[in-house]
Symmetry: C2
């Protein structure tokens, strides 16, 4: 059985959602989970979930990384943090993948330096899922692991994102696009124009430059960009979706007729909310490190943690890392195809 | 009375919404409008709007720039296009401002080279309004006039955006933020880190780096970024808002109860739609050129055109350009304040 090391002290409400999500994953997805953190607090949460779950273990960690900790300092100074201990469990093969909803920068630093990069990978990248109009999912890579990327980095992000998409969404030939400000090859900034030329040479289904709206349209599966832009894209989407939901809620309270309408439409709203709810999609995998690593949102609820664990287990099962290593460690051979 | 030169052949449905929007603006906002384009088609549309509106004139142009035209080529080859003729009316003072919902790149090129830049301005920039959760408006500058901007350009965008915001939204001390991937000064890419240091020195209310979600939060009024990122931010927002509206519509059709609920909530939905409807905000001004220029969305309806004309007239009335010229042509003096 696949074993996932879960940082139980990661989310804003930790360890409540982290533990509950782990219990749900252990029950529903037949994975083993090692919860890492304050044993007393974890056990207290576990006790709320009825009879002891056999495939959930607890490992102690004496420190906690907070949102206020600077990533590199947390990596260097808090060696017994729940993130460090969970990462060591993965490095020593006690677990096959890492899940944390903690301080994203710190988790990235600990995973990057604690696990190391896969052979051939120059930079790790965060890959985020977005719901599309066609009912599917598109992924954006990188959403914040790097800034000031060079073309060679974006090319690796394209390769890693394509492998990830194939493995997780079972799509044999995902369409890969390059995020830009117009579809024409000549448009975009310097980085995009040079990357475009290189992506054309790869044995992937490169569909060219795509505009921001394509993230939600469902015509492209993997969208490649620098992490500065990808992170802004992610935050804008989260912010807008939240505000739209809030505006709608407000509008539906203004008249008695609207209130009654809202009650009658309850099921529809629930369905709509599920569609724009990030927690359905779990966390954001950090591709390129030596073992599957999924970073959850600080606001993760139990459902988000459960899904992050599901994604991490899928990455192990479908051998995403072995495939990335194979593609990127033999670039000369591949380019000749 | 302020006179606005309006490209009647600009929008996707031209000249219908362009003419209707001009008539509405002439009636509601006490401006004079010169409609430029095919006189027969324009007159046919004007005839639909009842009695002759005294403050609407028609000027002929024999060519039309399409969405397929490459901007610089359209600028050089189609010298009698409606955009060119409208721009010449502004340059010769027959009108004080330009409005077009045509090919954005081509309108930018014609306005930039036909009108020239204001003294002291290095690059023109597009400034787009976004609705905020607090019921106000934030503006993002630049949303696509430039890529690969340097820090000096972003500093000018901040100054122009701040003046624009003060003039149009009557806010005496707008808060100016720099779009980045974390609030800390040390975060962001090279461009952001260097620009941050320069913005701190300006006599504006600089609130530091802001994340993507702040565009909709209402805590910042003017958000500065390179045009590559700003354009992607704009397109993502448009795309997501559209898809959310579509998902909601779909969800509200699934059950009879939801359908009835939707009917009862009709007023609330109309209010909600108005909130996320770009047409309420008119077009996107191109700041930095010698006369106020507002570029509308290709999908503009009459309401969008009317509001674009309103914004152009406001820019004339509040002397946005004179203020920009004053600030940017005396940088040394200003820096010493």
């Amino acid at each position: 059985m696949i074993t996932i090391a879960v940082d139980a002290m990661g989310s804003d409400q930790a360890p409540r959602p982290d533990v509950e999500g782990a219990v749900l994953a252990a029950r529903e997805h037949s994975v083993s989970v090692i919860l890492v953190g304050n044993p007393g607090k974890i056990e207290a949460e576990l006790a709320k979930h009825g009879r002891r779950v056999s495939n959930v273990e607890v490992v102690a960690a004496s420190q906690v990384i907070t949102m206020e900790d600077a990533p590199m300092q947390a990596f260097r100074k808090k060696k017994d943090s729940s993130v460090h201990v969970a990462t060591r469990l993965v490095r020593t093969n006690a677990a096959q993948a890492l899940v944390s909803a903690g301080n994203t920068g710190a988790v990235m630093a600990v995973a990057r330096f604690g696990l190391g990069l896969l052979p051939g990978v120059e930079r790790a990248a965060l890959v985020a899922p977005f719901p599309t109009a066609r009912g599917g999912v598109s992924v954006l890579i990188d959403v914040g692991a790097n800034v000031d990327s060079r073309p060679a980095h974006l090319v690796q992000f394209a390769v890693m994102g394509e492998i990830y998409y194939r493995a997780i969404f079972g799509n044999r030939k995902p369409r890969v696009g390059l995020l830009s400000i117009g579809e024409e090859e000549s448009k975009g900034n310097e980085l995009v124009r040079e990357t475009h030329n290189r992506l054309k040479e790869l044995p992937i289904q490169f569909v060219g430059n795509v505009e921001g709206r394509e993230i939600f349209a469902g015509n492209v599966d993997v969208i490649v960009c620098d992490g500065f832009i990808g992170n802004i894209a992610l935050k804008i989407s989260e912010g807008l979706a939240q505000h739209i939901a809030a505006w709608l809620k407000q509008a539906l309270k203004t008249t008695l007729s609207a209130q009654l309408g809202a009650v009658l439409s309850r099921g529809a709203f629930a369905q709509f909310k599920k569609k724009i709810d990030y927690s359905e999609y779990g966390g954001v995998p950090l591709l390129g490190v030596r073992s599957p690593t999924v970073i959850g949102h600080g606001r993760s609820n139990a459902n988000a943690i459960k899904n992050a664990i599901r994604v991490a287990a899928e990455m192990v099962r479908t051998k995403v890392n072995e495939k990335i290593e194979h593609e990127l460690s033999v670039p000369a051979e591949r380019a000749a195809v």
